[in-house]
Symmetry: C2
Subunit: 113 residues, 2 copies
DNA sequence: GAGATATATTGACACTTGTCTATATAGATG
DNA sequence: CATCTATATAGACAAGTGTCAATATATCTC
């Protein structure tokens, strides 16, 4: 897992977060950095199983169905939701661990001095 | 403070995260959703006072000075760094509280069911 | 004031992104 | 098989983004 802090505090400026880790973390953070996706996530978070199908979200979100599919695809590719097919419906479910990973990666230690 | 979870779990899909809160949170998350800025933040996080001047970061980051200034501006406008002028130098310092706010906003509760 | 240094701003450019409409695909049901 | 429903994909478009070179601004020092 890539965190902003790596091992511990070195007194010199070094490129502590490697390019590949920075790219990966940025990709996951970008997936949650959109107002529509945040509202979508918020809706899922309020549902008992942390999941919903595309049609319900489309109705509640006020954007077109292809747009909702697009946003779910972005979230799925970032590992933030799981996709479960149930007949004609497709249910997307939040992966709490993925969000916890993000919060850990964003943790900044208390000021040293 | 805007969190993805608002009060508690309602059993119906509602637009729980209001537009203004979603916009604000997205803006702050976007500020950290860039690989270059993540590396920059990582560098600051490893320094004793959580701060550095533009020139040191420019040297270590391998991008142009205007680009570093631009990234610091984005971070400052999102409230993630403070700006402190010291003669010709300008020091930017991480605001740990702002990062903690982000991690709180991204928290997803454990599955209800 | 003149020159040197550190930072910010401007303008340009390629690239990405969010949204839509139109259409395709897949599964259920008659 | 035909049709309906749910979802995904393709294509288009406007808006936003990351970067740089060039230039402006501000501060220090002589």
């Amino acid at each position: 897992m890539s965190t902003i802090m790596s091992a511990c505090c070195e007194p010199t400026i070094t490129n502590v977060l490697h390019q590949a880790d920075a790219d990966d973390l940025a990709r996951r953070l970008k997936a949650v950095s959109d107002p529509t996706r945040l509202k979508l996530i918020s809706m899922l978070a309020h549902l008992p199983g942390l999941e919903a199908c595309v049609c319900d979200i489309t109705e509640a979100l006020g954007v077109s169905q292809p747009t909702v599919s697009h946003h779910f695809k972005v979230l799925a590719e970032a590992g933030l939701v799981d996709r479960r097919k149930d007949g004609t419906w497709v249910h997307y479910r939040l992966r709490p661990q993925a969000f916890e990973d993000l919060t850990i990666a964003l943790s900044i230690p208390a000021p040293v001095a």
